[in-house]
Amino acid sequence: MITTLSRILKYGLQNFQRNGWLSVATIAVMLLVLLTFQGVIIFGATGGKALEEFQDKIDISVYFRPEVSEDQILKVEEALEQVKEVKAVEYVSKDKALEIFKIQHQDESVISSALAELEDNPLLASLNVKAKDPNDYSTIASYLEGESLKSVIEKVTFKENRLVIERLASLVSTGRKVGLFVVLFLSVIAALVVFNTIRIAIYSNREEIGVLRLVGASNGFINGPYVVSGAIYGVIAAAATMIFTVPAVLFAAPYVSVFIPSMDLTQYLTANLFSLLVYQLFFGVGLGVVSSAIAIRRYLKI
């Protein structure tokens, strides 16, 4: 059994070598598919992370009128904590708001000097409310906009954020769908190319196949090498994909982290290198084996 397997492997390797340029072309097309597939995976991960980060940033900020006392604000906070959709409420006092503002604008001399001119703290105290589910914000917003609180609340900000988040979510999901469609489309093309390569290999080996039958080679022994060459295409294409991916990701990583600070692509790659390789191998070998199996069924009469 093991000797047979190793011989099938040997002949498969031989087929692969003898069809040199054809093999290279086949691998190139498979590489295209796998790169796209890889791109979809990494885009999905990045997009997901971005979405997560933005969702974490959504909150409803409730700004109170300047004359409202801290006690009143804390009461509203308590009341909000009772609302079941609310995950957390954070109180930002006037002083704290100023502090945050100063830190955010410390490099901008115009703003800091303008602030120094002011005697009063112009900022409002606020509550930052986070929901358990992003879809719950409208419920919370409508609670805050109710009659009972109208007298103390200056404004509720939330709508602007929401639009951005919804757009981002739909962008990520459309991106994934389009990516998968492209992967599917390219897979069909690659399958056809592999199919044709194996067909040509079978054709150019037809005499040898005849002799194999003559000397009583089992069907598996005649088929096996072609399946093996299909698998080799997949393995090489998967390895090449990783070789292309690594520098591309390392190059892109600093740019991505500008937009999504929590997304460290380099770290993502090192952490997922193995599983990415396994996905590529599975996909590549699957594609190679299935298309050569079809070619064998169609062209290799036993």
Partner: protein, 227 residues
């Protein structure tokens, strides 16, 4: 050991290649199948190796009913039959040794057997010295001997030679026939399809004469006859 029982073979769009042919070949016999081109010699060989199925009748080989074998059972049968052809059917990319060895490889024989058996068989056909030569470096007679070595490597019960001397000069042809007789003397059944009168007449063995798909003569010590 081999029985053809009322066998007919009709190829699509053609007249009968074989028409109700019956004969038996016993173990250890040396039988010549003779007849003009198209008489049905090759069809008999193809039916025996399971390459073709008879339109009518039964083909028996030992315990196999060849006409009923499934595709995955054929390899087993073919390992019991050594076949030799006019055009040798050697693999051009393999040397003499490899051409013989791979018949064992594909039959899943362990490497040790291969290392033992191949030199033995190559010695038997007188090619011990030329085992590293590729087919294009060998003469016709030598190529045919490689083919015989490959046919013999499984120690088959029967060797079928389809016009094995067709591409050879008389001296080489005589060598090949001598080799077949030697194989036969070791107990292997030999079926020789040929249209060479000299060879058949010199053999003085059983002759089956075919004409237009019919068996016209079956003599224990026959001569080539034109019918």
């Amino acid at each position: 050991m081999i029985t053809f029982h009322g066998v007919s073979k009709i190829y699509p769009n053609q007249s009968a290649a074989l028409d109700d042919v019956s004969f038996k070949i016993g173990k250890g016999e040396f039988v010549s199948l003779v007849g003009k081109s198209g008489a049905g010699k090759s069809t008999i060989i193809k039916l025996l190796t399971g390459e073709e199925k008879p339109t009518k009748g039964r083909v028996l080989f030992d315990n196999y009913e060849v006409n009923k074998l499934k595709a995955n059972e054929l390899p087993q049968l073919r390992r019991q039959i050594g076949t030799i052809f006019q055009d040798f059917k050697l693999l051009p990319t393999k040397n003499a040794y490899e051409n013989v060895a791979f018949a064992l490889e594909v039959a899943a024989r362990p490497q040790k057997d291969i290392d033992d058996l191949v030199p033995q068989v190559l010695d038997m056909v007188g090619l011990g010295e030329r085992r590293r030569s590729f087919p294009h470096e060998l003469s016709g007679g030598e190529k045919q001997r490689v083919a015989i070595a490959r046919a013999m490597i499984h120690r088959p019960a029967v060797v079928i030679a389809d016009e094995p001397t067709g591409n050879l000069d008389p001296i080489n042809a005589a060598e090949i026939i001598k080799l077949l007789l030697k194989i036969n003397s070791l107990g292997t059944t030999v079926i020789l399809a040929t249209h060479s009168r000299e060879i058949v007449d010199a053999l003085e063995k059983r002759v089956i004469i075919l004409d237009n798909g019919r068996l016209v003569k079956d003599d224990a010590k026959g001569k080539y006859m034109i019918v």
